[in-house]
Assembly symmetry: C2
């Protein structure tokens, strides 16, 4: 018999583009401060803390592993485990991997699976709902959370119950409904037996593994191999790539939920949104009496039902006479869309990618294992970067064939190695790295180290790098 | 008897805000590349060159004097004179000052007065029109240019002729019509006797002075005093501020044109626009078959009758499903407006000014007598700037109480003075300026010098400056 600790499973490997230009492949929505002062991932992690909740198991992609640790540290929490998916394969393999990981310690471990890019209005109420669902889960049910609808939403899948209910404990599920047309959604809203499918589940590891054994035995074997062959890399558990690569890209709903006969639904009446597009941000962003949401430095003159969002304190966005418009400005990309066409942002990003526009997938700020950097200015034969190194981190020992570098420390203290000489460089001190010199930058301190790098040379590409030693095991010519 | 050389008078003291965020008080529309590769001012200067045209007399404000010289140099031309208005007083005093300046040499000098923020499609055709107007001007007429209308424009004043004409030589003027309502504009367009008032005039200096003598004798006396008391400052003629300050803010139309009885009109059939608002940019910007104008990196998905403009190669603007929208993005401000509300941009700028938003009036790039700078990054105790110094220019000899500076030259060569030591610093070399050191930066070379400055200190305001010597005669605590 398990104790009743619930293990949160936070899924954050997704790379949605519908909230471009804020969400990009290189830094997707769940890690952005889409609403409020925390990222959606941080808010999701904090939502499932406190008595009865274990440290979360995070499932993410390799590119995001340091973002995960940095963001968890930013809200003073840490993961029970961070599982690295060798490639994105949708929710079924990710959730199964988490179940197998937990089952190795305790097959009866209760798992609360939640996307990390949704918002909920009432964290305590949601924790209460999880506790209300727990007995059924411990009895072997797969409990899925159904949100009581307040509008005929066509962007969500729905859950059908046997009968309308005011219950706040699990009830039987009759069936799944795919994203409906508007008339169907209106009918379901009026009917009262239908809830939104939030993609949130509670079950024991053993229950889920048994469901895969019945419905997806081949997938179970492959994921079992990927977990068994996992390697430990710093604080990360890297699932085995060879086993993982053969997996089908498939959601948990298709893989097992729609086939299983032990499903229950926990009706949940609190606020919830999947923030699936900018229209959802406008809806959830606390619109004023004219339906206008202003986020960041924004000025609206005679606008209605419009989102004006700026991602930078130094970027003012102004709307005049707009109606049903989404306008989102970042320092390198601006989106303006008819509100009714919010779903087409995904197509716009695909178009930009075809055109070779870097803003389609990447941000000016490039996150690396040791921190991040951004380019401040680029000239014909020079580039200026701001480099931020997290405490204790180190860049690789490296040299460049085509460029020299001036480093000026402006915050914190760096330990700098140049051709074997090691010295501390602190605020308002500078170092010159001649072309060809073998050098390394580290932050030996307790606070982030900020450095301005001025590169000069004929060729300034990131691939002009020869690595001699790297704590993050990256190769020649690989980035940063 | 004068020879028939025409002296172009370029008015560029205006500071229109209807084309914000590209046009700002600190760098108004006429100096921006609103359409094409040259600024409107540069195009205006080049339009009036060649046989029969003297070097232009430019009338501008003190803040723009170095922009004028730099932009003229950029198109390899120079001014005959640059008159500096001590304060903006609209067109009447500016034009009269230019007339008095020319009359000192030749009272019969022919003057072609033109705003420097308009576009014309056919420069050679316009020069032909000026030549066609010249005999009447030399006979003592005030010739105003009337544009043949192609739409019922309510944003312009109109000119009424005695009768409809196909003439391309001056004809008599019957009267002025203020900006009309739409029905009135439609009537005038159909009538055939009405032209748009372009604010372009040809007359001799003596003719204009005589008109002021008759209709504005007090203004004539004051402007005469301002011209008589003008001081020479480098290549500029600074009108006397005490005399100038008492002048009324009044247009040439109100001051004399509407009162004079010696007016003729030169009907002009070529393309012309005053680029009075963003709607005009959309109209003049060569719209595609759906009425969309894309300027800079811009992507339109299923848009109609929409302007998508980005001011930076590093800033992608994307529109989805828009109709009749103006969207203009700069690195520090974004405007999105209903096309029909283009005129309200002025009100939006006023609102921003009330809110204390710096983008209302200033640009990130700050133009100075010696070149320009922009802030690349600002932290709690540091700032990074890009500084560009024009060949031969020098910053003041100065010191700071609160900050140290690291200078890295990335293009060209600097002559640097630090506490009396003078040395040349070239590409990929750096200099450290300790707090309190008396220092100066000059560009002794033939190409622009680009320098990255990293400031560190508790207070980084532009007013932390003690000046010891300045070729541009600026005082303590004044900027740059």
């Amino acid at each position: 018999m398990s104790d009743t600790t619930v293990h949160p499973i936070l899924l954050c490997g997704g790379a949605g583009t519908r909230l471009w230009p804020v969400s990009r492949k290189s830094y997707p929505k769940q890690f952005t401060n889409m609403l409020g002062d925390q990222s959606l991932f941080q808010a999701s992690a904090l939502r499932l803390t406190g008595p009865g909740f274990a440290a979360p198991v995070v499932v993410t992609g390799g590119d995001f592993r340091f973002v995960v640790t940095e963001q968890l540290a930013g809200v003073e929490t840490q993961a029970g485990a961070i599982l690295i998916e060798p490639a994105a394969r949708n929710t079924a393999p990710a959730i199964l991997a988490a179940a197998l990981h937990l089952a190795a310690e305790d097959p009866d471990a209760a798992m609360l699976v939640a996307p990390s890019d949704h918002v909920m209005g009432d964290d305590a109420g949601f924790r209460d709902a999880v506790r209300a669902a727990l007995p059924a889960a411990l009895e072997g049910r797969i409990v899925t959370f159904g949100i009581r609808p307040d509008r005929p939403e066509t962007g969500y899948g729905w859950l059908e119950l046997e009968q309308a209910t005011e219950a706040t404990a699990p009830v039987p599920l009759k069936g799944f409904v795919e994203k409906p047309a508007l008339a169907e959604a209106q009918r379901m809203l009026a009917d009262g037996r239908y809830l939104w499918n939030a993609g949130i589940f509670l079950f024991t590891a053993g229950t889920l593994i048994a469901a895969f054994e019945t419905h997806q035995p081949a997938m179970l074997a492959a994921v079992r191999a990927a977990v068994a062959g996992a390697a430990t890399d710093l604080s990360f558990t890297r699932l085995d790539a060879a086993a993982w690569d053969v997996l089908e890209d498939i959601s948990i709903d298709y893989a097992v939920m729609e086939k299983a006969d032990n499903l229950s639904v926990l009706p949940y009446g609190g606020a919830w949104s999947d923030l699936g597009d900018w229209d959802a941000i406008l809806r959830e962003g606390n619109p004023d009496e004219r339906g206008v949401v202003r986020q960041g430095p924004a000025t609206a003159l005679d606008c209605d039902d419009t989102l004006l969002r700026s991602e930078s304190d130094a970027l003012e966005i102004v709307g005049i006479g707009l109606k049903d418009v989404i306008a989102v400005a970042t320092p390198d990309a601006v989106l303006i869309a008819d509100r009714a066409r919010s779903q087409e942002v995904k197509a716009a990003v695909a178009r930009l990618k075809e055109k070779g526009v870097p803003q389609a997938e990447t941000l000016p700020r490039d996150y690396r294992p040791w921190g991040w950097y951004e380019s401040l200015a680029v000239g014909d034969r020079f580039q200026v970067k701001r480099i931020v190194v997290t405490p204790g981190a180190a860049l690789s020992l490296q040299s460049h064939v085509h460029r020299s570098e001036h480093w000026i420390v402006v915050e914190g203290t760096a330990r700098v190695t140049v051709d074997g000489d090691v010295k501390l460089v602190t605020e308002n001190q500078s170092v010159y790295i001649p072309l060809g010199a073998v050098h390394r930058m580290e932050n030996p301190g307790k606070v982030p180290m900020v450095l301005i790098e001025v590169q000069t040379g004929r060729y300034l590409g990131e691939d002009d790098i020869t690595r001699y030693d790297d704590v993050y095991a990256r190769g020649q010519g690989a980035k940063g």
